[in-house]
Amino acid sequence: MDWAVIALLAAVALPFATAAAIFALGEARTTARSAVNVVGAAGTAVAVLACAASAWQGRAGGPLASAGIGLLDIGFGFEADMLGAVFAVVAGVLWLVTTVYAIAYMSHSPDRARFFGFFSICVGSAIGIALSENLITFFVFYEMLTLATYPLVVHSGTPAALRGGRTYLMYALPAGAALALGVVWLHVLAGPVSFVPGGALPLGLAATHPVQLTAIFALLMLGLGVKAALFPLHGWLPAAMVAPAPVSSLLHAVAVVKAGVFGIARVVLEVYGPDAALLGLTLPLAALAAFTIVFGSVRALAQDDLKKRLAFSTVAQLSYIVLGVALASPLAIAAGIAHLAHHAALKITMFFTAGVVAEEVGAYRVSELDGLGRRMPVTMAAFSVAALGIVGIPPAAGFASKWLLGTGALDAGAGWVVAVLAASTLLNAAYFFPIIHRAWFRAPRAEWATGPDPGRAEADLRMVVPLVLTALAGLAMGVLAGAALSPARWALFVAVMEAM
């Protein structure tokens, strides 16, 4: 086996091995467990980066690395391709950062073995989703992710957590059933479906079976739309904010929700390809995404709970990616793929911050953040950078996404998207600026000045360093958007292949 295959298998297997080790070590052996966790996450990060390297090497002639197990006539297959590498790197690298954060964040919480074990399974599932070679493998990991997330949502065991978990399952399980039906139906109709840039449907199928293909598409979108939080399937995401901060950060801003949008990208670009537009499926999807953008932003405005505001912001931002994919012009696709990485770095920073704030000063609401910038300036600076990035203020990464999306939309002849972008940007600003304003320009809450620990006090370094790093990453992705191997350039490369 050459290095590329080893890296591919390691990327998928290491998180699961880490999970097994964590479960085996049990609750009591904290140090050993943390060590295993960090080592596993670091190894995974290296492996996904190696996967990306192999994908880049094979960018012209197809992926270098593939592997699989036969089952029935489909089998489980993996490969490190250009599109998958984006999501794999995002999930794998951010896992390492999140692990460090979470070890500190959860240090006083009970049931940590269970927490970190399932967390690892979630990351492994996300990486599996990223590196799946075919729709079946994708589906297998997608459902694993569904289940493995549940114990994390209900982790605290409070009635609110259990309610959030129930809501989550009420959405996710029927969605899984719809997805299963769609996947099997497509398999019956089109045979084994591998992901191929430019579409994988047999020639002429769209002409002979348009109704069935449309129905399958609808089922697939129903199944994927829940995790992608497309309106009206988004309701679980704000409810799931009862989960601990590391879960909200990595899973509900990155791994889980982006598994949904990534799946939509796979299906639209690498299964249906041009047939999606031929069958008239992309315009409704784009319209739905556009509506979700506006809808999510408006709902975010009304939230006082900080995590809920962030959650609705995520609902809106995810649809940028869907919109880009659905518009299907090279630049728009590039915008979507790039935003997958951009939004990940920016939003995880904000959730990290929300966790720190809740943990350190007990503030859960936007209205409780007055003057926080003076108490924890580093943390709030990172938050502000990320917020400005998402609003789309240059040079942070969000601007690059929006720019690409706008031009891509114009290429695709969808000028109305520009209006959506403008409205969204205004709304983004409207729900983030007040937070920034309160943090920096309002007087601090009185008890912070008089309490036992007055004045400036950052949180544990193991929490602050990760959020600073992710904020810097978000900044760098924007500043260096034109550099080789930046997410934006990478995305452009993928987009050109997809649109061929």
Binding site: D111, G165, V188
Partner: protein, 499 residues
């Protein structure tokens, strides 16, 4: 020598536990335990050897007892189907034996367990190998009497009444079956399955015989609406027994149905029968799941889950009838379900039994915080729940996949809806158990005794091992699919029509 041993493997599969049973009876309360452990451990390599033989041969093997050729003598037949079922019996049997060594700590009270248990294992092996319709009747009686005796073993009131109900249903089923055998012999003059397949024709007596046999076996398999005896029997039996009843015993009578309707005849032999069985299966899925959602006791919930999961087995018949080129998928789905459900359901019952014997009760609303108190057991239950729901990666998912494929391919998409709806309902009843397990332990929400001692590890890990095996089937299931396809009707030829 090794060659001779291999040639006798089919007989050994029956003889090993059958010889051990009276020995365990003679050996008494104390020494019956090692006898059972050795015999059930030996059955595992024997089953693997048979599976290997069949795979290597690529076709059915026959073993003629007494050296008398069929139709005069009785044959044992080993094809992919019987080898698969034997393998599951051996693996589940061994795991349950290990579990039982911990469970029946009160040696004197359960001194007859080991002999009855070995008789059950022997009779299951005999049933899965028999190639003779009358011999199958004797096997069925062996299975029923040993299973009922195991249900009633505890001597508690509910168990005794459940055993009686089970006994009456089982004897009634046997009588129906035997009447069918009489008519088959009357119509065709042979008892051997292969000879029967060769001479089976559209004959009123033959059709009536098939119908009667089906009624009898449906009763024994507890297909809705003949499931009335199952939940009390499976819920009130000692937990290792519950595990084997749900995992293997109901599959025994289903296996004979499968042989008759897909190997000897095909579902169109009696018009409408395939659809009828499928519809009853669908009703079983819905009814069993809804009842499981309403139960107050964990073991009752698991037992009703069995009622529901039995329904999936019977979806095979209409789909085999109509699935055309995808008949392989439909047939494999049913058999694979028998396998994966056997592993997962035995894991569930063993987990439930671990809860019951550790905390002294199995009321569902008193299981708050279970995942903290008994993490391995909760994990075993949750993982086997994944197979019940048919979610990947699990054997249940492969079943779902194959059924939906067959349903869509044959244009009978409503069966796909049934399969998917059943999965969601299963998620509902599994969640009823697993979800409170995550609840914060509050004194008023949990009846779990904090001071309850630890269980023997082998009990918890026997359950976990079976649950993991069910899960592994979803990824590494191809060898099992290959094995069960050897010499199966799924290879495309329906014998009696010669198509």
């Amino acid at each position: 020598m090794a060659e001779a041993l291999l040639a006798h493997m089919p007989a050994l599969a029956v003889v090993v536990p059958l010889v051990a049973a009276p020995i365990a009876f003679l050996a008494g309360a104390r020494w019956g335990r090692p006898v059972a452990l050795v015999a059930s451990a030996l059955s595992v390599p024997v089953a693997f050897a048979l599976a290997w033989l069949v795979s290597a041969e690529g076709e059915k093997l026959r073993y003629q007892i007494g050296g008398w050729e069929a139709p005069l003598g009785i044959g044992l037949v080993v094809d992919g189907l019987s080898a698969t079922m034997l393998l599951v019996t051996a693996v589940v049997g061994f795991a349950v034996t290990v579990y039982s060594l911990g469970y029946f700590a009160d040696k004197e009270r359960y001194r007859f367990f080991w002999a009855l248990w070995l008789f059950l294992l022997a009779s299951m092996a005999a049933l899965f190998l028999s190639a003779d319709v009358f011999n199958l009747y004797v096997c069925l009686e062996l299975v029923s009497v040993s299973a009922v005796a195991l249900v009633g073993l505890s001597g508690q009131r509910d168990a005794l009444v459940a055993a009686m109900r089970y006994m009456l249903a089982a004897i009634l089923g046997s009588i129906f079956y035997l009447l069918g055998v009489a008519l088959l012999y009357g119509a065709f003059g042979v008892l051997d399955l292969a000879h029967l397949a060769a001479v089976l024709g559209p004959d009123v007596t033959g059709q009536a015989a098939f119908a009667l046999i089906t009624v009898g076996l449906v009763l024994k398999t507890a297909l809705f609406p003949a499931h009335f005896w199952l939940p009390p029997a499976h819920a009130n039996a000692p937990s290792p027994v519950s595990a084997v009843l749900s995992a293997l015993v109901v599959k025994g009578s289903f296996y004979i149905l499968l042989r008759l309707w897909t190997d000897v005849g095909d579902p169109s032999y009696v018009p409408g029968m395939g659809t009828l069985l499928g519809v009853l299966g669908a009703m079983a899925i819905v009814w069993g799941s809804v009842q499981a959602l309403l139960q107050e006791r964990l073991k009752m919930l698991v037992a009703y889950s069995t009622v529901a999961q039995i329904g999936y087995l019977f979806l095979l018949f209409p789909l085999v009838e109509i699935a055309g080129s995808h008949v392989v998928d439909a047939w494999s789905a049913g058999v694979f379900h028998a396998v994966s459900h056997a592993l997962a359901k035995s894991a569930m019952f063993l987990a439930a039994g671990a809860v019951l014997s550790r905390f002294g009760h199995d009321r569902i609303d008193g299981l708050g915080g279970l995942s903290r108190r008994a993490p391995v057991t909760t994990m075993a239950f949750g993982l086997s729940g994944i197979t019940m729901m048919g979610l990947p990666p699990s054997g249940g998912f492969v079943v779902k996949w194959l059924y939906i494929t067959a349903a869509i391919e044959s244009g009978a998409w409503w069966w796909a809806i049934v399969v998917l709806a059943g999965g969601l309902l299963a998620a509902g009843y599994v969640a009823r158990v697993v979800v409170p397990g995550f609840a914060k332990a509050r004194d008023d929400a949990s009846d779990l005794d904090v001071d309850a001692g630890r269980l023997p590890r082998r009990m918890e890990f026997a359950a976990l091992a079976l649950a993991l095996a069910a899960l592994a089937l979803g990824v590494l299931g191809q060898p099992v699919l290959d094995l069960m396809a050897v010499g199966s009707p799924a290879s495309g030829v329906i014998p009696w029509t010669g198509q």
